[in-house]
């Protein structure tokens, strides 16, 4: 039948008929729920289609109608009631969204928004059932729901499994079987340490029949210093950590000690409330330690400028807005940023809330435009962060200078000798020595700047109300400590057990790290426009448990990764592929590509090149020459590091905001100019070119080939087996081995006839090929290992 024709005719007949015909049109793709829930079913429809003109923003509100608050929605204005509980037919809202006349129909055509027939039915049923409202789920304090009853109780290892399984069973589904042990230890190693397991670790686990074998692997990885690095990759994305300022000349700024603070905090399992307090307000803690001061680098991570012609006031406003955006997204998962120029369209944030939130940071000592000295000058205030060796050397300098002063005073008294030149030289040396210390931008509190509401975000408009620090009004008042709440108060509120957002937001993101997708998919927005969590009881349980545990991050991680849900195989049975293509039900594990940094780490580790040191100055791996050609003030050439620094983990890579290291960029690492709650994952030819041709991957393949030749056993087959175990923790299939043998044989013949090519190939990278190895053999095996380093398996976590 011609459904298009039927639809258009119905539209002309009128709204009532149109509405009646909808179940037929909806085609049974989705059944109307028996009980309509406002948060789950109705809020997303109203928020997306109506709130723009009938929501929190009072300045854009049309016809005085507000649909985000029940009392307003049901009240009568000019003889009309938008929502009449119990009577959808009489409700103006229903009349208007189903109106035959396009000029009368809501939402207006020009808005590019559309309520689907199914959604219309939802709205009608909801009104008929009494039009009950609920506060937005994320703004209500989470409580633990009763542990659900499930049939397959033996599958439930911890509460995570109960909440997952109850939904599976409701859909008539079974969880997937547990993954094999090799997959499990690889999964755990990548997830917790960002590194592959060694063959010995794999064997140890595979052959360990003790009941707590799995848990011991988890404990070992949680105790590994690489756990902090893995966590830091994500945290640094959120707080937009980088080594350069981002604007214009994108100059260097000292920041790496902050990065190490983050790594150390995760490794020491610092409670998240303390982690929060130190970053936002470490400078305000009494007798703050050096570490606590370093932590406040968080407040200085925004982009800054020294562009000529930029105005101080203009940029101070930009920095303030940047901090508000970031802090609200990192801790609250809120798009408070939207309220900079107007009240929020979907959530009850006002413009005033925006600027009051910004006022918490008004006491940070900073300049809008850095105008001191040359382009190489730092962006103060900074704190020096010498190594122990440097501290000792500095002390020696001070000793020497003290002695030298004594000498000078004797000279002055006796008028014999002239060692003043020596003394001055020593003093100069000390100064230069100190200037080369690692430094980190920190927060130094100062007299708070005046903060105003800026009409339409315009920094030149000084007509707005002066504001003092406060949290968003609808989230409750801020208790006061002294006259003016401080960043310490803000941190205390963020991690108060009553705060409905922080723990949920954190746990949702943690879930994403281990299951591939957030429980609510929108990691950056749990507001009205965010996705209704697929397992709300689970998310609430995790949030409450996290707070109750004393914000214990390792506890939270362990809870997730020791669940049965986590241990499932990631291979979908075919029915699941159709039923749940994005694995929201968690009837299996997810598989996903490794992060950019981890792809590098994995190749370096497998090859044997990785230098696993923790922390320190940011490092400069290979990079195409002239990549910084478009930079200026100053013009700069990239100086590739030497020696060990070439083989450090990706998390330590020098992060140039405007020109991110190309291999990291190719694998979707963000520029960190803004907060990134979730990296996009792409699959591009640039990635293939990087793994094939970037010298670090070519060098890593060759170094791996050296190990294959040295440690892989006698026969070609043994060598291939060995290489597979090192790279993929498994044995090759016959077919895989045959392919690699064929490649090896062909290249062996070719390089034998072209030894110069072999020599050139194995000469790539700073690490020299050993003299005692036949270049032809080494080159041929390098072709094999290069192939292994380019497969999908090498860059995926299953």
């Amino acid at each position: 039948m011609n459904s298009v024709f039927r639809l258009s005719r119905l539209l002309t007949v009128g709204a009532a008929l149109f509405a009646v015909s909808i179940p037929a049109l909806a085609g049974g793709t989705e059944a109307l729920p028996d009980r309509i829930e406002f948060n789950k079913h109705i809020r997303p429809v109203l928020s997306n289609n109506c709130f723009l003109c009938h929501g929190p923003d009072k300045n854009k509100r049309k016809a005085g109608l507000r649909l985000d608050i029940r009392s307003e929605a049901v009240s009568e204005r000019e003889g009309v009631r938008a929502v009449i509980p119990g009577d959808s037919t009489a409700s103006e809202l229903v009349k208007r969204i189903t109106h035959a006349d396009v000029d009368e129909r809501m939402p207006p055509l020009a808005s590019e928004r559309k309520v689907t027939p199914f959604q219309i039915e939802l709205l009608k049923k909801w009104i008929d059932q009494g039009a009950k409202y609920e506060p937005h789920w994320a703004y209500i304090k989470p409580v633990v729901a009763p542990m659900p009853k499930v049939k397959n109780e033996s599958w439930v290892r911890n509460p995570v499994d109960g909440y997952i399984l109850v939904n599976l069973e409701a859909q008539g589904l079974q969880p997937s079987p547990e993954a094999d042990r090799v997959t499990l230890i690889r999964r755990l190693s990548f997830d917790l340490a960002g590194l592959p397991p060694t063959p010995a670790e794999v064997d140890g686990f595979v052959n360990d029949s003790a009941p707590d074998a799995y848990e011991r692997v988890v404990d070992r990885l949680l105790a590994s210093p690489h756990f902090g690095e893995r966590m830091a990759i994500y945290w640094l994305d959120l707080v937009r950590y980088a080594d350069t300022v981002g604007y214009h000349g994108d100059q260097l700024r000292g920041m790496s000690p902050y990065r190490d603070y983050v790594i150390n905090a995760f490794n020491a399992n610092m409670p998240f409330d303390q982690f929060t307090r130190e970053q936002l307000a470490g400078d305000l803690i009494e007798d703050a330690t050096l570490e606590q001061k370093l932590a406040t680098g968080y407040n200085r991570l925004n982009m800054v400028t020294r562009e000529g012609g930029a105005q101080d006031k203009d940029y101070l406003v930009r920095y303030a807005a940047d901090r508000i955006r970031t802090t609200a997204t990192v801790w609250l998962g809120s798009s408070l940023a939207c309220a900079q120029c107007h009240d929020h369209k979907f959530d009850p944030f006002t413009t005033r809330d925006f600027y009051r939130f910004g006022a918490f940071f008004a006491d940070i000592e900073e300049k809008g435009v850095q105008t001191n000295g040359t382009n190489e000058e730092p962006f103060p205030p900074l704190i020096n962060f010498p190594t122990d060796e440097e501290t000792a050397r500095l002390a020696r300098y001070d000793e020497d200078i003290k002695r030298s002063k004594v000498v000078l005073s004797i000279e002055a008294a006796t008028r014999i000798g002239n060692r003043k030149g020596d003394h001055d030289k020593l003093a100069r040396e000390r100064k230069v020595f100190e200037e080369n210390f690692l430094s980190s931008a920190i927060t130094v509190p100062a007299e708070p700047r005046t903060m105003r509401v800026l009409p339409r975000g315009n920094w030149m408009d000084e007509s707005g109300e002066i504001v003092t620090p406060a949290i968003p009004e609808f989230l409750g008042g801020m208790w006061m400590r002294g006259d003016r709440p401080t960043r310490l108060d803000l941190a205390a509120w963020l991690t108060d057990p009553d705060n409905p957002l922080t723990a949920r937001v954190f746990m949702n993101r943690l879930w994403r790290m281990y299951f591939g997708t957030g429980i609510s998919r929108t990691l950056d927005d749990v507001g009205s426009q965010g996705e209704w969590p697929r397992h709300p009881d689970l998310l609430d349980y995790l949030a409450v448990d996290f707070v109750d545990s004393g914000w214990d991050i390792k506890h939270a991680v362990k809870l997730l990764v020791t669940s049965s849900a986590y241990r499932q195989t990631s291979k979908p049975v075919s029915s699941l592929k159709e039923l749940d293509p994005f694995n929201r039900l968690v009837a299996r594990q997810s598989r996903f590509r490794l992060d950019a940094e981890v792809i590098r780490d994995n190749a370096l580790k497998v090859s044997g090149l990785l230098v696993p040191a923790i922390g320190g100055r940011s490092v400069r791996p290979y990079q195409p020459a002239l990549y910084y050609k478009e930079l200026n003030f100053p013009i700069r050439e990239y100086e590739v590091d030497k020696g060990e620094n070439l083989y450090r983990r990706g998390v330590y890579t020098h992060w140039q905001r405007t020109y991110l290291q190309p291999s990291l960029l190719a694998f979707d690492a963000p520029s960190r100019e803004e907060c990134t709650a979730e990296r996009v994952v792409s699959n591009t030819p640039q990635q293939a070119l990087t793994l094939l041709n970037d010298p670090i991957y070519v060098e890593a393949s060759r170094v791996f080939a050296e190990r294959i030749l040295r440690e892989g056993g006698e026969s070609v087959a043994a060598k291939i087996d060995w290489a597979y175990r090192e790279a993929y923790s498994r044995k090759p299939l016959l077919s895989e081995g045959a392919l690699l043998i064929e490649l090896y044989g062909k290249h062996l013949r070719e390089f034998s006839g072209d030894p110069e090519a072999a020599k050139a190939f194995i000469d790539i990278g700073e690490n020299p090929a050993p003299d005692d190895m036949d270049p032809v053999l080494l080159a041929s095996w390098s072709s094999v290992s290069r192939t292994l380093f380019n497969t999908h398996e090498m860059i995926y976590r299953y």
Binding site: Q311, M460, S715
Partner: protein, 483 residues
């Protein structure tokens, strides 16, 4: 012993006995061993191509591609396309306060503001009588009647870095997609062997303003929509060349083995992403040949090379223009050429002559060449910078210059369904404010998208709970300039 023979003996004699192992491609071998691979391989040959969000587009597209000649630094409209006799009359006089009071000012903050008349002569060119200054002899004498000059542009950002970001992404906040990324997202790419969004840069003269890769970043869009920068020395694209000692044949061996291993692996994990991976490796391998072919202009006849004024990859704007035409022919969707030499705070007359001198001939050549090939009709050319320059004088080192200016500046377009030989909009008598038919950056973006067949209000992407657009919440198509 032949290593393959050795392996076979060690493992099993079952499948291999009597089989010739030479002269058979890895792919075929793997297929023999594993029939499932055939399906994975054939899945991969169906290219994993993004065909755009809108297929078909909202309107019949007038342009299939855009070549954007981006004059980085902010060319002075008053010395190029916007003649102001009144400003010349007031040369040296104080700038009337009615213009500048309460207005945002960059480097001239706090300075005494005086008028500076145009440093160059203007004349009328072409049948249409386009008013153009003497710095563009080629442009004015050959393509004036193809040009649509907009004299009423306005932007919101007065410093280079945010102004570039605003011009490219419609906002000064970082992390949003650039217009080329939006276009690729909306329309997909037309070519298999080259990226759909390419960036080229050139520079001359003094220390030019820096340029961030943010200007061609995909922001919150998937990174396959990111602009790919071509480099004038070394590999044209990062990591394009195979390692030393690895011939294309050897590279092919490796890629084919990778593909085959991926196919086998797919049997045990059943992962749709593997088919995509395989097709991306194919494209990467093809790019290793197609990109060198693209930049090798030896197949261009001498008269074409002369027309542009380039003999090969020299990093010049002229070479980039010729490359842009070659990319346009191959289906690249959005080609952006940055020329970094237009920030003339002082000695304007000399410096602008130098900058214009570097781009004049090649710009005219590009339009002429495309026209001769019948490609100007569906190629939209844009020429312009991130803002204009003040009518007020600045600097004295070597002669007067002008500061950044956002309230009125010029830009021109040609081809791609835009009327030729017209001017649109006007600034006031002193060239300060755009006063007639003001064109904002959002209007400009809306117009570009419209010419490519896209309704700018429908090109949205949800991020942080909001449907973002290139044109934010405004933007009107400038219908007056459409052919």
């Amino acid at each position: 012993m032949d290593p393959i023979q050795e392996y076979i003996l060690q493992q099993t004699r079952r499948q291999f006995l009597g089989r010739a192992t030479r002269g058979i491609g890895s792919m075929a071998l793997a297929s023999l061993l594993n029939p499932a691979l055939l399906s994975a391989a054939s899945a991969a040959t169906a290219p994993d191509r993004w065909n755009g969000l809108f297929n078909p587009t909202h309107f019949q597209p007038k342009a299939k591609r855009i070549i954007y000649l981006y004059m980085s630094g902010g060319p002075s409209h008053l010395e190029t396309f916007d003649y102001k006799p009144e400003l010349r009359r007031l040369d040296g006089e104080p700038m009337p306060e009615s213009f500048t009071k309460g207005e945002q000012i960059a480097q001239l903050q706090g300075a005494e503001l005086r008028c500076l008349g145009s440093q160059l002569e203007f004349a009328k060119y072409g049948k249409s009588g386009q008013e153009i200054s003497s710095v563009f002899p080629h442009i004015s004498s050959t393509i004036a009647d193809d040009m649509c000059i907009i004299r009423s542009m306005q932007t919101e950002q007065i410093n280079h870095d945010p102004a570039h970001t605003f011009m490219n992404s419609g906002t000064a906040i970082s992390g949003r997609p650039s217009m080329g990324s939006w276009l690729l997202y909306g329309l997909g790419s037309e070519c298999e062997n080259l990226p759909g969004f390419v960036v080229l840069t050139s520079q001359v003269g003094r220390s030019p303003q820096p340029l961030s890769s943010r200007q061609w970043h995909s922001g919150f869009l998937p990174s396959k929509f990111q602009g790919v920068k071509f480099h004038s020395s070394g590999d044209p694209i990062h990591y394009l060349s195979s390692p030393a000692g690895v011939t294309m044949d050897r590279q092919r061996d490796v890629v084919e083995t990778v593909q085959a291993l991926n196919g086998i692996h797919n049997d045990s994990v059943d992962d749709a992403e593997i088919a995509t991976r395989i097709s991306q490796y194919e494209m990467a391998f093809r790019m290793q040949t197609s990109v060198p072919d693209l930049i090798d202009i030896r197949d261009e006849p001498q008269h074409v090379r002369d027309l542009y004024g380039t003999e090969g990859p020299d990093g010049s704007f002229a070479f980039n223009c010729l490359l842009a035409r070659r990319m346009a022919e191959r289906g690249v969707r959005f080609i952006q050429l940055y020329h970094r030499d237009w920030d003339h705070h002082n000695d304007l007359k000399n410096f602008i002559s130098e900058a214009a001198g570097t781009v004049d001939k090649a710009t005219a050549a590009l339009v002429t060449d495309l026209k001769q090939r019948g490609m100007l009709d569906d190629t939209l050319i844009i020429w312009g910078g991130e803002f204009g320059r003040t009518p007020m004088v600045q600097g004295d080192k070597g002669g007067p210059g002008r500061d950044h200016h956002i309230k009125g500046f010029s830009l021109w377009m040609a081809g791609g369904g835009v009327k030729g030989g017209i001017t649109h909009g006007a600034t006031d008598d002193l060239g300060y404010n755009a006063v007639e038919n003001v064109v904002t950056i959002h209007d400009f973006h809306a117009t570009l998208l419209h010419q490519m067949g896209i309704d700018h209000k429908k090109l949205t992407y949800r991020f942080q709970g909001r449907d973002f657009r290139l044109t934010d919440v405004s933007g009107n198509v400038v219908r007056d300039i459409l052919a």
